[in-house]
Each structure stands twice: as C-alpha cells, then as structure tokens.
Amino acid sequence: MLKKSCILLLAVLLSSFTCQKRVEKPEITVLIRMMDIQDLWFREKMKQFEKENQVKINVVTFDQVEDVRQMIELERKSGEKRIGLVKTALEMVYPLAKENYLIPLDEIEDSLQLEKDLDEYLPEAVKVGTIDDRVYYVPRKLETYLLFFLKSKVKDALNNWEKDRAKINARLQEVNQYGLPAGYRLEEDPKEWDYYDLLVLSFFWANNPYHGITMPRVAHRGKRYAGTVNELVTRIFQLGGDKEDILSMGTGPVKDLFLWESFFIKNQLYHSGMWEQAWSGGDIWRAISTGEVFLCFLHQIDLFFVHGGSDPTMTGYLSDPSDLGVSIMPRGVSLELAEDGKVQRKGGHFSNLYGWWWGIPVTSPDPELSYELARFITSKENQIEECSRFGMFPVRNDVLGDLAQAFDEEWKQQIFKTTRLQFENGTKEFPRLKEWPQIGKNYLDAWYDISVKRKVVKREEISRSLKDYVRINQAILSSFEAEE
C-alpha cells in the first residue's frame, strides 16, 4: 500500500513537470554552442523573440561541432519534430547539407524575398552557405586569425635580439645548413613578419629571463579538437599550400609545416603546455595573463576576452590592456634555404576563414518560424549588440559599412580594422568535405607523432613518416568518392 502511494506520488510529481510544457504555442528547439556569457545573452534574446511572436523556444547546448549531426539524426529516427535551428560550424556546413539533414532556404521562403534577404549579408558568407547552387544557411559570423603580441615584449626583442644571432644561427645550421637567411634582420613592422621573424622573436623570448624565469613564450592550441586542426591548416596556407596540398598531405607545404613545428618543439620555442596540458583557446588566454605567452594566433573574439572590459566577468588577461598588439598573419616561408641563403619557398599572409551559420534541419516543426528566428538573431540591431560585446566580426553589409557605430572604443576598431586588412591579404577555407573531421584527426595524430613525440627535423624523415598519414587520408577520401 505504501509502495502504491509512493508510485502515485511520484506520478503526480512527474506529471506536474510535464504539464508545464503542454502549452498550445508553436515550439522549436535551437542547438547552439557559445561562450557562457554569450549564451546568456542569446537566451535573453530568445525571450524577447518568444514574447514578440507568441512562441516557445528551447535552447539546447551541444558539446562538439560534430554532435549536431547525431542530434538531428536521433530526432529524425524518433519521428519527433523539435529541433528547428542549428548553429553550424564551418566544418559541418557541407556535411549537414550534403547528407540531407537540412531544408534549403528556397523551399521555405519564396525566391524573390529570399534573394532580397540574402543581399543583406556579406557575399563571402552567403557563398559558403551555398551548396550545389542552393542556399542552405543564414550567415551568423565570420572569423579570421589575427596575430596577437605584446607590444612591449616585441620592442624589447627588436632592441636586443642581435646578441642572440649567433646562437640562433647555430640551431638553424643543424637543419638548413646555413643559419638565418642572408641579410636577415628582424622586421619592425609586424605586417611584414614572416616565419623567420617569429622564430627570432620566439628564440629571444625563450632564452632570456622575464620576471626571473626563462621559458618559451609562444604557443598555439594543442588540444585534440577542431581549433588545433585549424591552426595547423592555416600554416599550410601560409606556406603556400592549397586545398589539394591539405588533402594529399604529402606535398611541400605540408612537409614545411611539420618541419617548422618540429623545429620549434625541439628547440623549446613552444610552451610545453600546448601538448602536456592539451591547450585550447582558453588555456592560452590564461597563459597570457601569467605572462607565459607573448605571441599567438587569436580570433577576434579571443582578442576581446584577452583585452577584457565589455562584460563584468571579462576581467581581461593583460596586466596592461594597452599593451595589446594586433597584426595580420605572418607570411609562411620555408625553413630550408637555397645555397645563396635565400628562402627556398615563400607563401603568403593567409588566414583561414572560419565561421558559423544557421541551418534549418528537416526536423523543424515549423520551417517558416525557424527562418524568421534566424533572421531575427542576425538583424542589424542584434548583430551590432553582439559584435560590440563579444567581438564578433559582423556578416551584415549595413554593419560593416559603418564600423564606427558598432565599435565605439579605439581598441575594438583596431581589431576590426586589422581584420579587414587580413581579408585583403587573403583568407582561405579548408576543404569542404563531409570527411573533413576525420582528416583533421589525421593531422592531429601526425602532429603529435612527428613533431611532439619524435621531433623530426629532417625533411626526408618527415616525408617517410608522412607516408602513413597520406595513406590514411587517401583511404578516407576514396571511401568518400565511393559514396559519391
């Protein structure tokens, strides 16, 4: 009897939970992944949308960018319709559309209106969201890497690096039989830096004490996730590589990448936390705040957090925020030199282009509402608000046309001015394939093996070691073609 009453009680308890949800309003679920405070902001905005449109929006957070596929798949199998909008990272833009998880926008909105709507967004952003001539996505944000450095530390290196020239030459001779390139000097203008300049800066900082400690002061991400893949692939672009090089994994620029990485790791120019603590972006901020990292690649949003100040919890990570230096990406050059001491190969100041888009999945209970929601989040007001608080690079033409209205403070303008310059200097996208995450994983494996563990600085040995990974890439790609 007692047991029965327990069960009854439980049943009442449970039904009261479910009762709350039984409201006769259209209801959709949005899948997102955002920084905690941006997440909070987003939820506030959703409340506004709920009120204005008399609907109910559930916000669900995913963990890995690949998770969205599984989440839609599970829902599709279950036959329920809840997920109505998905924040899609660049690497998932292609697979989601290609595997029929999304509804093309022209099936939701009539083509004239759609064209008018899409004209409001940056053409580059719309282009990425277009697959097989059909637009699947509303753009959300674009981002590029920028070079972050501490102005004071760079100045210090500029003034004093010459005393270390001999030591640097000695290390380099082991690998390129020459030393620094003929007639080398450290460029004063960060916009002119190439990999040798980064090497000199790294070496100088790693071999001179700061605050009583001598340690490497340069880092990039090292955690096994998409962020690290992006950094590695960006370096291939800078070294003159293209999509084909990235996919084949056996060509010159890829070998150059591993050569540089091994060289930096072997000579203790990279902070060991990268692989020992599997650093993600946030770990790099922390390292900046304790004076462990003086230079790294950061996205616009990272730079906002490092500078700090646009939210109470954004305490910032610089003891002196005005010390924040920003520039475009360095130019990749080969570590190997010709006999006359000139670099053998030169690349460019490329950044990879990354971004997020809004996709409407086939599980949407109300595709028109989903579309409306995507338009609402990317409206002019909301975009300005989001950009100026969280350092998002806008995707709307009307916002980009007048940066001053979105970014009132000088440092913010500096970051976005540099971003524009980066766009002028070139941005590249990594290959858009469904199998990209697997290829990315292959790159991580290779980096951990060749550069971190074995620290191979011989080109022939790198070629040999890469063969296994080339084979894996081929296998991934051929299974892809077979499916096609």
Partner: protein
C-alpha cells in the same frame, strides 16, 4: 610530547584551511591581484578586496538556475530515498528477516561498484526512452537516490533500533493498525535521526559530480558542480571560478558542522563491523 602534538595539530589545521583560504581570497580578488602578467607574485590577500564576482553571480540567470536545479535534485533524492529507505530500515530493525546480515551487506555492496563504471549503463538507460522523457532533475534525482539509498537505510536502521520497542507494542496492543503505528508514533520519534539522514543525502547529491555530469552535460539543466565544469571549459578568470566554488561549498560546510554525528555514521557505514 604534548607540545609536539599541538604543533602537529596546528600544521594539519593549516593544511586543511589553506586551500579554502586561497579559494576565498581568489573569490574576492580585484583585477591587479590576479592578472599580474608575471611581474610580481600574486598577493596572499587581495590589494583591494571586492565582492564584485558575487554580485555578478547573483545577477546571472544561469548560475541561479543551476543552484535551483541542484536544490531540486537534492530534494528529490531526499524524498525518494526516504520514502524507499525508511520502511526498509524499519523492517530491518524490527522484524526477523532470515539472512538479514547478508541483505545488509548486499545493500551496502552496491556502493562498492565504481561510480565511473556504473554511470555508463545508468546513463544509457536513463537517457533512452521512456526515461529520457522525464525532466533531467528527476533523472539525476533517481541516480542520486541509487547512491544515497544504502546510507539512508543504514542510518535509519540505527535510528529505529534506538527507539524502544515497547512504545510500538503498546500502541499495537491498543489496536492501532500497523501502518498507523508507523506514522503516528514512530515518525515523530524518528524524525530528528531521519532528518540527519535527509541532510546527509541532500549533500551527497549536492556534491555529486559523476552521475550529474553524464546525465546532464548536454542539457540546459545542470547541477552546480556540472555548471562549474562547464564554466571551466571557457577558461574563466580565477576570481570567477573561485566565487562559484565558494558558493557551492558554504552550505555544505555549515551543515557538516551541524550534523556531524550522522555524517560520521554515514561515512563509516559498515566499515567498523
């Protein structure tokens, strides 16, 4: 000898208090005390103590929501494990059940199963239909009941054993039905002890991480420890993490002082025998 003893006690107390002091210090630190750029050591007391982070947390809806979730999960676990556990404890304390020792051992041995192993089947079960239709608060509550139930039974059994049998028998002779006896006579007497079991269960649930993490990491409703981990994945500043940590700890520390005796019983349950 005596002096050595007190010195040792002092040293140990220092080691216990120091980490907690540092957490408190970080939570009230101003910017200059944590963002040093490596130029000077972090001070052992903030230059300009500030309660700013607590103000921020007070106004953060996600933190408040996690706090409420923790509260509800805890209450659910308490209610459920008392409803299930108290009758069982009563039966164990009052009636001769053959092989009672083995049963008791079995009850406790469920807890010897590693959480990290048990969590995978439990998560696979609770996150699939029909259980997944239940709100996350209930799911985590069910899991925490699993963890707390053996302790509840153990503590409650002790409570019932300490109540003189005569009382019940008198009531029984006077004609009260057994279930009424149970509620009318026993409950008020057992209440303080059961209250302690409830508090113990509540804080077991409040502190629990593994099950809550596997069951709610994806969703919007998480308990405070999982919230803390999620915030941690965005690498927040030390002052912010510490403020959250401190707020999670304070209620537990206070209640530990209040219900120590029962805490001790729970912690050593079955071990001394």
């Amino acid at each position: 000898m005596k002096i050595l003893k007190f010195v040792l006690i002092g040293v140990i107390l220092f080691f216990i208090i120091f980490p907690l002091f540092m957490m408190t210090k970080y939570s009230i630190s101003d910017r200059e005390s944590i963002v040093t750029g490596g130029e000077y050591p972090e001070p052992f007391f903030p230059f300009k103590p500030t309660l700013e982070m607590f103000g921020v947390l007070w106004s953060r809806s996600d933190f408040m929501k996690a706090g409420l979730t923790s509260l509800w999960v805890g209450l659910f676990a308490v209610a459920f494990s008392l409803l299930l556990g108290a009758p069982t404890a009563y039966a164990l304390a009052r009636f001769r059940i053959p092989g009672v020792a083995i049963l008791l051992f079995f009850l406790l041995s469920v807890r010897l199963f590693p959480d990290i192993s048990a969590v995978i089947p439990v998560a696979e079960l609770l996150l699939s239909r029909p259980f997944s239709l239940l709100p996350p608060v209930v799911l985590v509550g069910l899991a925490h009941t699993l963890l707390a139930l053996p302790y509840t039974v153990y503590i409650a059994k002790g409570v019932f054993e300490s109540i003189p049998r005569d009382l019940e028998e008198q009531a029984f002779v006077l004609g009260a039905a057994k279930s009424r006896t149970f509620f009318k006579i026993l409950t008020p007497l057992a209440l303080p002890g059961l209250g302690a079991a409830a508090i113990y269960t509540f804080f077991l649930s409040w502190n629990e991480f593994i099950f809550a993490y596997f069951l709610t990491f994806q969703g919007t409703e998480t308990t405070l420890p999982v919230y803390l981990l999620r915030i941690l994945s965005w690498s927040p500043q030390k002052n912010f993490i510490s403020a959250i940590s401190l707020l999670i700890c304070v209620p537990v520390i206070i209640f530990t002082f209040l219900v120590q005796r029962y805490m001790r019983e729970g912690l050593t349950a079955g071990a001394v025998k």
